[in-house]
Subunit: 247 residues, 2 copies
């Protein structure tokens, strides 16, 4: 149990995926006490939240808060609306040239960071960690450095803590310029248990990763390039062949 009085606190967004797990591990390695924040936002698969809870525990976080974010009512994404289809079997070229994918959730990171900011203010923390990444192409506009900079600016104009308390909020996006392989190598070095993390957008009927959505393919490619074994795929009985995963 960390000594809560003598450490600096960080609110770390935890999606259940490997990027946010690595970002949280970086925060821990820098001496922050972790206050992990996840969202039940009507995503198709709840496995993400279980992975987030397991990861928060494995990183020794002081608290793991799960907030409901009422985004399914708004729709507009394959991840929150059952009427939009999750693409499968796209190759790297198709992913890179297809523009912002249908799995984009309108204003998701803006909403998540807003809650993180609120919690940081209540906790007396000035540091928020988010595992966004602009290199391995996901095409999400709210994963780019200019978005993070704009949010940080907003944070420092919108809160009592900043305007009255002189707190200088910092949005840490330590993975933003790393490739997926570099993120995996970094996580491996920091002891992240990737077998707890979850990436698939469209698990099969038995709850296993599909191996065919963009997220499964980017994950498989990342582990391959990092030269690291993905124990999650093994553990969850991911039966697809290496060739199939390679796309």
């Amino acid at each position: 149990m960390p000594d809560l009085m003598n450490t600096k606190k960080a609110v770390t967004l935890l999606s259940g995926g490997l990027d946010s797990a690595t970002a949280a591990a970086i925060a821990a390695s820098e001496g922050y006490t972790l206050y992990c924040l996840s969202f039940d936002y009507g995503q198709r698969h709840k496995q993400e939240l279980e992975s987030a809870a397991l990861t928060a525990r494995s990183l020794g976080s002081a608290q793991h808060m799960v907030l409901s974010a009422d985004m399914r009512k708004l729709g507009g994404s394959a991840l929150t609306s059952s009427s939009i289809h999750v693409p499968k079997d796209r190759n790297t070229h198709e992913m890179e040239s297809g523009g912002v994918p249908v799995t984009y959730v309108p204003a998701r990171n803006t909403i998540f960071l807003s809650y993180a900011l609120a919690w940081a203010e209540v906790l007396g923390s000035s540091d928020i960690f988010i595992g966004v990444n602009a290199v391995d192409y996901s095409g999400y506009p709210d994963c780019r450095p200019e978005f993070i900079t704009a949010f940080e600016r907003l944070a420092n104009l919108s809160t009592k803590a900043s305007v009255e308390g002189g707190i200088d909020f910092k949005i840490h996006a330590p993975l933003i310029h790393m490739t997926k392989a570099e993120i995996i190598q970094m996580g491996e070095k920091l002891g992240v248990d990737f077998s707890l993390t979850w990436s698939c957008y469209h698990p099969d009927a038995e709850g296993y990763p599909c191996g065919r959505c963009d997220s499964c393919k980017i994950r498989a490619k990342g582990f391959r390039e990092a030269g690291v074994i993905d124990h999650a795929a093994k553990k969850r009985g991911q039966k697809r062949s290496k060739n199939e995963l390679a796309g």
Copy 2:
């Protein structure tokens, strides 16, 4: 019923109070079809949401969406935490010199605007109206022009609609430089039914406005200075004397 195909759409944040009702009426007067958005954010009193629903209907809105925003779990405000006391009987000097009041809710407008942005993107709208006001002193940092400008900048960096679709999001804060009396006169001119609106932070046991919290006092002063009768106070059996309201 507005012709939804041939009008421009605006997402209008509606709190149940008179400011947001007036901001929405301004949007309607400018030819926008209204998509009103309110939040159940764990506020102490649900009367606000009833007032928002009545106001949305009276303004002929195309839709009124109420989203749950899980802010009570975060705490940190007299409006969402039962352990923080709502101040009463403060005079204007005390309100103006007291700094950011305890009724400040951490990052509230950032969270609300983030959802409004998500909905605007799904609707194909580029216009969001919010009834914030920086003149009659509420002391909230997220009611200032620099906050609105920073959010607008963020909106145009964070969405598929802006980055890929070329949408230029505009955050309209038409009341930002108006006094409460000017807002009331404007609303009166546009036919806002103020008797439907709700301002009190701390209604009494029978559900009537207390007449003693900052919000009741600012409202009473505004109506007095505008030379307009507040039918809400009359209708809800607000029994306190004019002197008492004047503080």
